[in-house]
């Protein structure tokens, strides 16, 4: 069926250079501030509905949260902070704590129920109880951990298991 009688000729649809004259949508959606500027990980300035096309179920499953918690160490007046969402698991966390406080053995202490290592890592959970790091699945830990502490093993007799 041709365009006759519709009052529209195909010849009205002009070939033009990209961005050249002719039809242009008056509706400009400012999606993202283009060009440079902005640091790493700047969020999209305007959230466009349904873009990128990721279905809701998937979006909910992989939500990224920042989880900064304070870390205190016996004898150290200055506390540190770590972002739990950056770590893959207990090993990562153990290494990071060892690096932050220059103390060995924290990671090992998490894994093994041994008496080696001078320090152990503990955390305060949502109920306000101080717990030994490493008992529960990692993600459950990140959800309940409110702050971390590094204690000398000799001071943590109450909760550190002995062989």
């Amino acid at each position: 069926m041709g365009p006759q009688g519709l009052g529209l000729e195909i010849t009205e649809l002009r070939l033009g250079l990209p961005g050249g004259g002719g039809e242009r949508s008056e509706k400009k959606r400012r999606v993202v501030c283009g060009g440079g500027g902005g640091g790493k990980n700047r969020d999209m300035d305007v959230v466009v509905v349904g873009w990128p096309p990721v279905c809701l179920y998937r979006k909910k499953s992989i939500q990224v949260r920042k989880m900064y918690v304070k870390v205190s160490m016996d004898g150290e007046p200055i506390l540190r902070k770590v972002d739990l969402s950056c770590f893959q698991g207990y090993c990562d966390l153990g290494m990071a704590l060892e690096n932050l406080f220059h103390c060995h053995g924290i990671g090992e202490a998490m894994k093994e129920e041994s008496e080696s290592g001078e320090y152990v890592a503990i955390y305060e959970d949502k109920d306000g109880d101080w717990m030994l790091v490493g008992d529960v699945p990692w993600l459950m830990f990140t959800e309940t951990c409110k702050r971390l502490g590094i204690k000398k093993r000799s001071d943590a007799n109450g909760i550190v298991p002995c062989k």
Binding site: L15, V32, R42, V54, S61, M110, G134
Partner: protein, 571 residues
Amino acid sequence: MVYSLPEEVLEHVFSFITLDKDRNAVSLVCKSWYEIERWCRRRIFVGNCYAVSPSIMTRRFPEVRSVELKGKPHFADFNLVPEGWGGFACPWISEMSRAYPWLEEIRLKRMVVTDESLELISTSFKNFKVLVLSSCEGFSTDGLAAIAANCSEVMDLSGHWLSHFPNTCTSLESLNIACLGSEVSFSALERLVGRSPNLKILRLNRAVPLEKLSTLLCRAPQLVELGTGAYSSGIRSDVYSSLSKAFLGCKELKGLSGFWDVDPSYLLAFYSVCSRLTSLNLSYATIRSPDITKVISQCPNLQRLWVLDHVEDSGLNAVALSCKDLRELRVFPSDPYIADANVTLTEQGLVSVSEGCPKLQSVLYFCRQMSNSALITIARNRPNLICFRLCVIEPRAPDYLTLEPLDVGFGAIVEHCKELRRLSLSGLLTDRVFEYIGRHAKRLEMLSIAFAGNSDLGLHHVLSGCDGLRKLEIRDCPFGDKALLANVAKLETMRSLWMSSCAVSYGACKFLSQKMPMLNVEVIDENGSLDSRFDSCPVEKLYIYRTVAGPRSDMPGYIRTIDRDRVNTIS
């Protein structure tokens, strides 16, 4: 003199013809073939539940055993279709319960299904075997409990509940509770799995802890497909050894999925099945590239791989080296709303896979940069592509090397991949890309366009050139009335057209509706009042589909079918 074969012989011959399009062709040959064919058609697929009415279906095809229906438009997956739009399964299920007492299978996608409908299903069909609800809503575990309780023969059930299976049910073949948000009774699950020797597919939900997985696997070593629950545990548990022992026992396992909350140290537990795996879905596993690479390198027989962009280019290089049988690759974004990448996944990963995997047919790829040269390379490497969906995350992103539009790159894809059936575009695109698509993409059936084009000419190229086009979905493009009105006849050859945030006017919709009685032209406007629309007003969202059922009557107030007689529109 016309000799004709006896009906029984013809019917027997027709029983070998399974494709809908062939069956449709058979029914057009002559009246008697039409009659014979309609009595022996057993499977019906309705791609748009509003294209035909339930009674039309049951009247023409009285002896159906399997029905598949789709409801909402695809863009409903991305929140572009408002609540209450429609897609109600109820009228279909009521009619089928009346007309098809021997119905065995019902498959519904993107439809609203109520508990009442599920109960009706559970009591209406004596021989019911398969219920599949994908991306459906509107029901609760009560409805599914009815299915479990009353359908003693149910063999394949993808759904949401569990503990109502009678103890005598031993024929279960497939159980999929992956979407279930809540915890299930593990003992009920264990008992059900234990008494189902035919269980081939088991997909658990996130709430099933890793500690329980080995128990289930030991009860079901015959599984072919497994979806794990959460895949991590406290660091001091000895889950690992029992898990790897359990996996060792699963000699038939070919597909793995699940892997929520993955702890990488447990990935090695399923190494024993890797060499047999044909399907691996790690798209919920936020593990880093080295761990993913380790797993993938152990899976030489992989045909389908779904993964997050944590796989990075290095992981995809490993895929290209190890997975020579790969047919389908999907790479999802781990952080879709951040503009700059925090993972090194670029166009290079896809290029590597296109080079290394000769059987690659289907691609879904989210990334943050793309170039024409990469697309051209991919097109040349893989002319056998059937489905190519590329999402460059930033809208209107140009070729990052030359800053030009990606027209030429996508043009190469459609030119080289002559069997391409599905294409999704992204990035900076002008009308030129549509010219290429119209010229070359003759087998294209589904096209998704966003933030692209300059003028109606772009849409015109697609509508006039893509002979096989069935579904067209467009958002945020400067396409207005002209292309639509110049191609009205085309719209009747397609299943549906969706346009949102474009430049189509209300007046054009009215005109279209008048001109084409076989189309429903539905206008969606959540903001204003549809009654006070001037002809020149642009419509917010437009959904046009062919139908033999006339305008539908189940729409919410913000949707109107433009009525041909120009009387007050139907609501």
